[in-house]
Symmetry: C2
Subunit: 340 residues, 2 copies
């Protein structure tokens, strides 16, 4: 007797990975997060909403606040605190971006002029401070000491990671482990905190809090590695819009770090000249891309990201299947698929 | 029959005002604050303690943390929380100084090279962020939601005040009220918060919390006005070390604001050229000092400071006399006497 399988559109594994799952899971709450973000960037000092809105409304995916809402949903949280913590997480992220652009002298951000190009470094530093302060105020309103502890620790670790990156920058001798420590701090820690506060708000057991933290941490590492690969066009080396920004800024990311280690002395001198001494000539970016391709550094970077993505997915193993869990698993797939 | 008055050394009104009272009142606790400050600037990232210690150990008076300890003492507080909040307040202050020096392009701070001259703007921004994060962590450890609310609100108001100053800078049309709003934000708010958390920790009635807040706010305004006068040598116009820094940076402070309003059109054009257009020639500082003297702007600024100092002292009226109260009153006298 034949078994008739019911049609299940979600089982369509041929579909492109997307954020559709998490977006529809948190749609209603994200509207409230967006309203809250708008109201908390308000100030009598007109420059504050101008600078903040320029960046906040520049089309970021708002992945981090969505993660807070989704892990709260996964944990069966029923209260209102997740909306405020999600907005806090986005403010912490925005403050970091404003300060990063100053630290890196960046001219562009998300395809638009960086805030510092329009309002100056001064305003970017101070509006970042304002948003960080507002983030803490919202967290305090939620009233969970445990969530406060997690997010304030994240703020410290992020700043520490940024300083570590500053100290390590332009050093081609950076090891893969050093590099991982930097991206754990500068990117993955906020993903981890954003995911950990969900089960914390819902007062779930420690083991679930750790699981969500681990999911966020590994997703964050994978996300950053893919970003690093995308800066050189993804796993298929290709030139295009914004390709090579990290190269021009002398950033030592994993693709470069691997090509440096896998290359010969002549190639290492090339990387040293371009990245440590900052002497970049016409054709250097193209040559760098050739080296990345010949040493398969971009493919290797994506492979590393797949490894951390797998750890993120396994971290959720103890949660029962359901819409929230599936949305979180799909998010990992989506983040990695960006570089394919 | 003659009345013999007992000899009371504290009644010796001819003595120079000093910080001796508050320093001896909080000496034991300040040692613990200093130890805590050292331990919380520690990090595996060596640049963090280097930058932080450069500024923190550069001989600031640590007035703000002493105010937290003294108002906690005034309120009969017996716990340990005041030491952590005092260290938090100093970290918030240090973070602000690091960011301010970047925003103002300052080369010197407290007679030493500014941190940004030694480690760069990047490190100053990021170590400031680190210290702000550590400040929040210490506050959270204390566990008082009310104190957290006060200090986090202060962080937002300070950043807002700095942005307002940025927007108002180089504008000679700034009114005295606009200027007061700026210094309430950038200086007085932290004094107010530092003083308010003392009675809050001790769970004293609202009226005492407001009184201490009011003391701090008015002391902070007086302190900043005296600083502004000192930048031109104090109430006696005189040239000396660091005199004229605000002038060279185009800062519109109360002495200038008053001279501008009291002057004729020719004088106003002079101020506009120097401060708005930044065209400063040899002899301009001397001419500015002459205008400040002829319009008695420095004396007037000190008079304004005396007014706010009086409000600060009256705010403490409802507290019974005692060592802590006397130390706080002397602190006001000392702050104002700096410009005499």
């Amino acid at each position: 007797m034949a078994v008739v399988l019911p049609f299940d559109p979600s089982a369509d594994v041929s579909a492109e990975p997307s954020l559709e799952g998490i977006v529809s899971l948190v749609r209603a709450d994200m509207e409230r997060v967006n309203t809250l973000i708008l109201s908390r960037t308000g100030s009598d000092v007109a420059m504050i909403p101008e600078v903040a809105t320029h960046l906040i409304s520049s089309g970021g995916k708002r992945l981090r606040p969505m993660l807070t809402l989704a892990t709260a949903d996964l944990s069966g949280y029923q209260g209102e605190g997740d909306v405020k913590l999600a907005a806090s997480v986005e403010f912490m992220h925005t403050a970091t971006l404003l300060h990063d652009d100053v630290v890196d002298d960046s001219e562009m951000r998300r395809g638009k002029l960086a805030a510092r190009m329009l309002w100056g470094n001064e305003a970017s530093v101070l509006v970042g401070d304002f948003l960080l302060g507002q983030a803490f105020r919202m967290m305090i309103e939620v009233g969970s000491m445990h969530a406060l502890d997690i997010l304030s620790t994240a703020a410290v670790v992020i700043a520490e990671g940024e300083v570590a990156q500053l100290a390590a920058s332009k050093n081609t001798a950076t090891s893969e482990d050093d590099y991982l420590a930097v991206i754990r701090g500068k990117t993955a820690e906020l993903f981890a905190a954003a995911c950990e506060v969900g089960p914390v708000l819902a007062d779930r057991p420690k083991v679930e809090q750790s699981a969500c933290r681990s999911y966020g941490m590994n997703l964050g590492i994978a996300f950053q590695l893919i970003d690093d690969a995308l800066d050189y066009g993804g796993s298929q080396v290709k030139l295009g819009k914004n390709v090579g920004d990290d190269f021009r800024e002398g950033k030592i990311t994993l693709p470069v770090l691997l090509a440096f280690r896998r290359g010969n002395e002549q190639e290492r001198n090339f990387w040293r000249r371009c990245l440590e001494e900052g002497e970049i000539k016409d054709g250097d970016l193209e040559h760098a891309m050739e080296l990345l391709a010949s040493h398969k550094s971009l493919t290797a970077t994506v492979d590393r990201a797949i490894h951390y993505g797998a750890m993120a997915k396994d971290a959720l193993g103890l949660f029962p299947d359901g819409t929230a869990k599936r949305a979180l698993l799909d998010t990992v797939e989506f983040c990695i698929s960006r570089a394919r």
